[in-house]
């Protein structure tokens, strides 16, 4: 199969399906062959569902012949392996669930299926979507198609690797401190963490109740818009799910950025940022200015305290895992176990103070967002690190440019904005007001149309 098909967008595939130039079954067979060839190197998939994929593809062909206009019809996707899938193994990247077969789908899995997608399989995740996957783990770690010696980011590591290598057209991720945006940044992809409450978490394994988000990754911003459209909306099964009506995420993409105000929070987000990321970021701002956006500096002083998010994460994660950690600790990877256990060492007062800091960050960010429509920052301070560096357990959890938006719950998109001298992708992060995913996607799409970073392919 040509790269043209492997890297086709949702719109391109849909057009070719409807012109009968190619069929979902042909695309599915071709991708299954590509997965067979490349996945032994990349380790993106933990479970391949070839029979199910062909069944979905045949159903999509019938629907296409019927004239069904759903844009996701016949689109090949895969799910991060913390999304429950009925009748299909869901491991959570853990030995605890290595052979678990759920008897129901998560809400998002069901919604994408109803939209007519083709399920190619389940994608490897860091253990319970937490931290880094260390050697000796139950499942091998996914590798970055741009450089196999570097991490693809995580915890949606398989999602990032599979998309960058042209193995799928769309994938789910989950994002507690950057697990959608990190793989998007490190693998040269687009990924959106929607507003807290916008996409259902029902049937998705929990890491931290107040920080967890679900969302899509894809190779273009427009593809993210299509995938989010089919994912978003109220779900009574998720207590955090919002009743705010879902907007049209596709229509705003055509509007450009003329008149939009983009704020750049100059404190916190630029500490420790590599020179080449700083340069790529400033060039991205210049591009947005030329497209008609107004760019101005803003300050959110309380962001300096954002690293306290880690207290909330580990305390909530320990609360979720406590029983298994006490009764079956040997089934956790060693490093993940010790890090989860650290949540038992956070006092009630410290957890409460971290939530008070969070309230302060939310209030100041809301205030700033009265003056601007979108915030722009570098997604990560550095490009993807080598496995040798990432596997140093003493490295800890570095300061994150992504976690602040898990604290605030604001919709946040990551998209490519350049490449390092060593050929690794660099990424721009855009955040909007609550439930204004359309604005964030609009800015990202305008930038993407004006640049060609998203069209580069990794050397796999």
């Amino acid at each position: 199969m040509s790269d043209e098909i492997a890297y086709a967008t949702i719109r391109e595939l849909g057009t070719r399906y409807r012109k009968r130039e190619i069929s979902p079954v042909e695309v599915t067979r071709a991708l299954l062959e590509r997965i067979e060839k490349l996945d032994p190197i990349l380790h993106a998939f933990v479970t391949l569902t070839a029979d199910r994929a062909l069944e979905d593809a045949r159903a999509a062909e019938v629907a296409l012949r019927r004239g069904d206009e759903n844009p996701l019809l016949g689109i090949p996707i895969a799910h991060k392996d913390i999304y429950l899938t009925r009748g299909i193994r869901t491991t959570g990247g853990s030995a605890l669930f290595a052979e678990w077969i759920p008897d129901e789908d998560s809400t998002v899995v069901r919604r994408w299926q109803e939209a007519g997608t083709v399920l190619l399989g389940k994608l490897i995740t860091h253990e319970f979507a937490f931290g880094i996957q260390f050697p000796g783990h139950k499942f091998p770690a996914a590798r970055n198609p741009w450089n196999l010696d570097h991490i693809p980011g995580g915890s949606s590591s398989g999602s990032g690797a599979a998309l960058a290598a042209g193995l799928v057209t769309g994938a789910t991720g989950s994002d507690t401190g950057g697990s959608i945006r990190g793989p998007a940044a490190f693998c040269g992809l687009a990924g959106i963490k929607p507003t807290y409450g916008r996409a259902s978490r029902a049937g998705v394994m929990t890491l931290s109740w107040t920080l967890d988000h679900t969302g899509p990754l894809a190779r273009t911003v427009e593809d993210c818009a299509y995938l989010l459209q089919a994912m978003a909306g109220h779900d009574p099964a998720d207590p955090a799910s919002s009743r705010v009506p879902v907007g049209d995420y596709l229509a705003p993409l055509r509007r450009g950025v003329g008149g939009l105000r983009i704020g750049v929070p100059r404190n916190y987000f630029f500490e420790g940022v590599d020179t080449e990321i700083q340069r790529a970021f400033e060039e991205a701002l210049e591009t947005l200015r030329k497209l008609g956006a107004e760019v101005r500096d803003v300050r959110i002083p309380s962001m300096q305290r954002a690293h306290s998010f880690l207290l909330i994460l580990v305390a909530e994660a320990f609360a979720y895992h406590e029983r298994d950690l006490r009764e079956r600790p040997e089934l956790y990877g060693e490093i993940a176990r010790e890090r989860l256990l650290s949540g038992a060492l956070v006092t009630a007062s410290e957890y409460t103070q971290a939530q008070r800091i969070r309230a302060e960050i939310c209030a100041e960010t809301t205030e700033v967002m009265r003056e601007v429509d979108v915030l722009a920052t570098p997604t990560t301070p550095k490009p993807a690190t080598p496995f040798t560096t990432a596997h140093d357990p003493e490295l800890g959890f570095p300061r994150s440019n992504m976690a602040p938006f898990n604290l605030t719950g604001l919709p946040t998109l990551a998209l490519p904005c350049g490449f390092s001298a060593s050929g690794l992708p660099l990424s721009l992060q855009l955040s909007g007001r609550p439930f204004e995913e359309g604005t964030v996607l609009r800015v990202g799409h305008a930038y993407e149309k004006a640049t060609a970073w998203h069209t580069r392919r990794p050397p796999v």
């Binding site: 490093i335 060492l345 971290a354 008070r356 357990p393």
Partner: protein
Amino acid sequence: MADPHELTIEELRERIRVAGITIAENRLAMVRKLLTDALAPVRALDSRTIRTVEPAVKFVPEAEGGRRE
């Protein structure tokens, strides 16, 4: 001079004892670093000046049955 916000190894051991958990001796440094980093903003905070986290529950009167958010 020691950082006043740093979690000492003695304090870490005491927290482990109180929590009733076991952390491997060779991972104490890792856990200590994780907690020291995460606690730094809280330890640098004057808790008298920071915002409250109220309200814990919020009622939306226009929603059916005064739904809680």
